[in-house]
């Protein structure tokens, strides 16, 4: 079996990178190699994982500096003997080894406005067409790996913004509620303020790292920004509002 030089962050903020030579098989992924290390030389190595198939979003880390799921990084893409650096996600406070404290995300989840549906039809059922739900279904593919939150420079490089900015994952969730075909409250523009949409400078790293392939920037963030523009910065709508006000004034 070939060997790989795994350089893993060990410990808390005062820890260090430790190199391990670990055997691997070409068919494996990084997470398998980390597991082999765990069952042999580093039994207390802290790492999160669940499904190992890119569907649960637990094993988020940074492999050679790139935020990614360890279960989706195949060893065939590395050369034998190559040094692979595995670091915990930078944006969140480190607990130990590869495990970070992601509770900030769960706090944000509670800030997002809840879905409030329209009334059902008289037979007790909702009716929606397939074309109407496809946009929302893309947002619902989110596996909450928080790689988009990790890579977002607004908080990655400026942690002080965490109070005013919920991050790409929750823009996706806001979009999913705001654009839901049955949403009754979505016409209220107030639902778009207070989440830090204007902190995003659309540099698209969230979309680049998303393992679920959600076009976060193009389909969630920019459309939300545009809905905000409708409310605040569209000259045609200004005119429309002035005219309708004038009419109702008479």
């Amino acid at each position: 079996m070939p060997l790989v030089d795994l350089k893993v962050w060990r410990g808390d903020d005062n820890g260090e990178y430790i190199s391990y030579l670990v055997e691997y098989d070409e068919g494996e992924v990084i997470l398998d190699v980390v597991h082999r290390l765990q069952s042999t030389d580093a039994q207390d190595l802290a790492v999160r994982w669940n499904c190992k198939a890119g569907k649960c979003g637990s094993c988020s880390a940074e492999v050679n500096g790139k935020p990614s799921l360890m279960c989706m990084q195949r060893m065939v893409n590395f050369t034998p003997g190559e040094e692979i650096i595995i670091s915990p996600m930078k944006t969140f406070p480190l607990i130990k080894d590869l495990v970070t404290d992601v509770s900030w995300n769960y706090e944000n989840a509670r800030k997002v406005p809840a879905f409030s549906p329209k009334k059902v039809d008289t037979d007790g059922k909702h009716r929606m067409q397939q074309v109407d739900i496809e946009r929302g279904q893309e947002f619902h593919q989110c596996i909450e790996c928080y790689l988009c939150q990790d890579v977002c420079h607004v908080i990655r490089d400026h942690p002080e913004n965490k109070d005013n900015f919920v991050g790409p994952r929750f823009f996706v969730q806001i979009a999913s509620v705001n654009m839901h075909p049955l949403e009754s409250a979505s016409q209220k523009p107030s639902a778009l303020y207070g989440f830090g949409l204007d902190y995003c400078n659309i540099t698209k790293c969230c979309t680049e790292v998303c393992p679920a392939g959600i076009k976060i920037t193009d389909n969630a963030i920019i459309p939300l920004k545009e809905r905000l523009v409708d409310d605040k910065y569209d000259p045609v709508r200004w005119l429309g509002r002035i005219i309708s006000k004038g009419k109702s004034g008479k």
């Binding site: 999160r48 669940n50 569907k55 769960y106 279904q137």
Partner: protein
């Protein structure tokens, strides 16, 4: 002994597990005004429910108007080989449609029919197209919807917190609380609760090849039994015939039956379509006998009989097993599932997009060009905590169970799609049952300090031990031997061998030794889970020895036929004075109006 600081909490209802069932239970309990908390081993939202693909079965009649709960009930009972708890099956079939609509009300986006209603898809064992679905990620949709509902209600969640012991007031046989630890720092945490709902999911992690994640260690099964609860049907484990076997990273991950439905065939190392050698007499009249006939069946069902590749799951799994044992397996211990040579790349990508991506991304295998390697994988535990069908309460007062950890609904074999609906139907029932119970309970029961001390001592043991084996080694030994001795095909001899293996591993467990400290230490976590896995392994094996017949998810080489006698018996497993006992119990018979449904053919 050392004094440990223990964090304490009080809740009317404590839910253990944050999957589809646990979340639904917590939402319901809160709705009844009970203070409610959820404890889960992983981060919130990572439960194994997200891996469910096909859909949730509910007789809504959106696609076939003829469908109704009676047909669904009948399908479920027949699928479970009539060993199901009939009342659970009835409730499940009756309430599933409302639960689907409820998810939609909470924001779920199910695929639609042309009329704008929820679309339903065909699945094995269901007479009509009945599975409400979201592409092939229905479980994710369900979990996320419930998770957001729970978040909006402000339900308290203790995530990455593992419960290790349930506390029971012995005099009244009533639940009093639970003891656990935070995974992050290893600090201890104690809950006083009037009612506890177990929703911990499956136990598949005791097998080497499994579709379950690390969490599937059956904590809930084992803790409930240790607390005195009765278990039922533990011998029935569903092995799905086609799981991935290679590369190692994806061993056990499911390959949908749709591959065979769309023309894929199983082949051995000599490139032979071996299923033709494994057609049991019972199915001979409706199964093709030559390759040509099977192939023409794919073209037009009237031109031939059904291909043997699509025999029932247990038959296919057994055949694959035999081929591998006879040395005709694939290089990595499975068989080949070939669709590449039979269908065009465009067809495969259109019909099986997620399988295409699963193999492409995880295995580097292009299924439009090369065959897949597949083998049986441990998928689902039909058995579990025996519960009251109406309230989901176990035989311990105040202890409730819902989801995979509860037994009874699925009998000897679960139909695809019945799991997701089970979660919400009985999750809700358990939530209501626990809330009612808690409201009628005036005060919290005291927790016996001696029990707490005993549990703590047990939890700290792996640090105090020295020179014992490491938990990973013991776990691997358990997995390998369960796979070999108590897997898909069982014999008395091997089961007895497995029983002594369990005894042996239990001894090793007592001296299991871990490195490091309590600070996020997966080695320690595994060491503590070992006890649960070994307990469940023992329950399973003991029940399997007693069931001297083959039925559903339990196949005995030495008793290959189903027997009428065992067809009316459920095995109850419980712990008496520290040792596990199995007793046969006559199944409840269903009322005449339901029995009527099975009379016509």
């Amino acid at each position: 002994m050392t004094d440990y600081e223990i964090e304490e909490h009080e809740y009317d209802v404590l839910v253990i597990g944050a999957g589809g069932a646990g979340l639904r239970a917590a939402i319901e309990s809160l709705a009844f005004g009970c203070s409610t908390a959820i404890v889960c081993k992983s981060l919130f939202g990572k439960a194994h429910t997200v891996m469910a693909e096909g859909g949730m079965a509910a007789a809504m009649g959106n696609v076939y108007e003829e469908d109704n709960w009676k047909v669904h009930f009948r399908d479920t009972m027949r699928g479970g080989k009539m060993l199901n708890n009939w009342r659970m099956a009835q409730i499940h079939a009756q309430e599933a449609p409302d639960r689907v609509l409820e998810l939609e009300e909470w924001g779920a986006l199910f695929d639609r029919t042309e009329d704008g209603l929820i679309l339903q898809r065909d699945f094995g064992g269901h007479k009509y197209a009945r599975l409400a679905h979201v592409g092939d990620s229905t479980g994710l949709e369900m979990l996320r919807t419930e998770q957001q509902k729970a978040a909006s209600l402000g339900i308290k969640v203790f995530s990455e917190c593992t419960i290790n012991r349930l506390m029971v007031d012995k005099k009244t046989n009533s639940i009093s609380g639970a003891l656990g630890y935070w995974r992050e720092k290893g600090n201890l945490i104690k809950f006083k609760a009037k009612a506890i709902i177990i929703a911990t999911g499956g136990l598949g992690k005791m097998y080497a090849i499994t579709s379950n994640s690390w969490e599937g260690t059956g904590d809930g099964h084992a803790m409930a039994m240790m607390a005195g609860a009765e278990m039922v049907d533990m011998e029935f484990v569903q092995f799905h015939p086609t799981g991935m076997v290679w590369p190692p990273s994806v061993k056990g991950i499911l390959v949908t039956e749709g591959v065979r439905g769309d023309g894929g065939t199983l082949r051995n190392s000599t490139d032979k379509r071996f299923m033709f050698n494994y057609i049991p007499e019972m199915f001979a009249s409706e199964t093709a006998s030559t390759e040509d006939e099977a192939d023409s069946w794919y073209e037009d069902h009237s031109l031939g009989r059904r291909t043997p590749d699509l025999l029932p799951r247990d038959e296919v799994a057994r055949a694959i097993n035999s081929e591998v044992k006879a040395g005709r397996g694939s290089p990595h211990g499975g068989v080949f599932l070939d669709i590449a040579s039979r269908r065009s790349p465009e067809y495969i990508q259109k019909r099986l997009p997620s399988m295409y991506h699963q193999f492409k991304q995880l295995a580097g295998v292009d299924i439009t060009k090369e065959p897949m390697e597949v083998g049986p994988t441990c998928h689902y535990a039909m058995g579990g905590i025996k519960v009251n069908a109406e309230t989901a309460q176990s035989s311990v007062n105040g202890l409730f169970a819902a989801g995979e950890v509860a037994g009874g609904l699925h009998g000897a074999n679960r139909l695809g799609g019945n799991s997701l609906s089970d979660l919400v139907v009985f999750g809700r029932r358990a939530g209501k049952g626990a809330a009612d119970y808690a409201k009628n309970t005036e005060s919290f029961l005291p927790i016996d300090q001696i029990e707490i001390d005993k549990a703590i001592q047990n939890m700290m043991m792996p640090f105090d031990n020295s020179n014992g084996e490491n938990p990973y080694t013991i776990h691997k030994e358990l997995q390998d031997s369960m796979q070999k001795l108590a897997g898909i095909i069982r014999t008395e001899e091997e089961l007895v061998q497995m029983l002594s293996k369990v005894e042996d591993l239990k001894k090793k467990m007592l001296s299991v030794t871990v490195e490091g400290n309590r600070w996020f230490n997966p080695g320690w976590h595994l060491a503590l889970d070992l006890e649960f896995m070994l307990t469940n392994a023992e329950s399973l094996v003991r029940a399997a020895i007693e069931r001297k017949e083959s039925r559903g998810g339990h196949t005995r080489d030495d008793y290959p036929e189903a027997s009428k006698k065992f067809g009316e018996i459920n095995f109850i497993i419980k712990q008496v004075n520290g040792s596990i006992k199995v007793e046969p119990r006559q199944s409840d018979s269903m009322p005449d109006e339901l029995a009527e449904l099975f009379k016509d053919k």
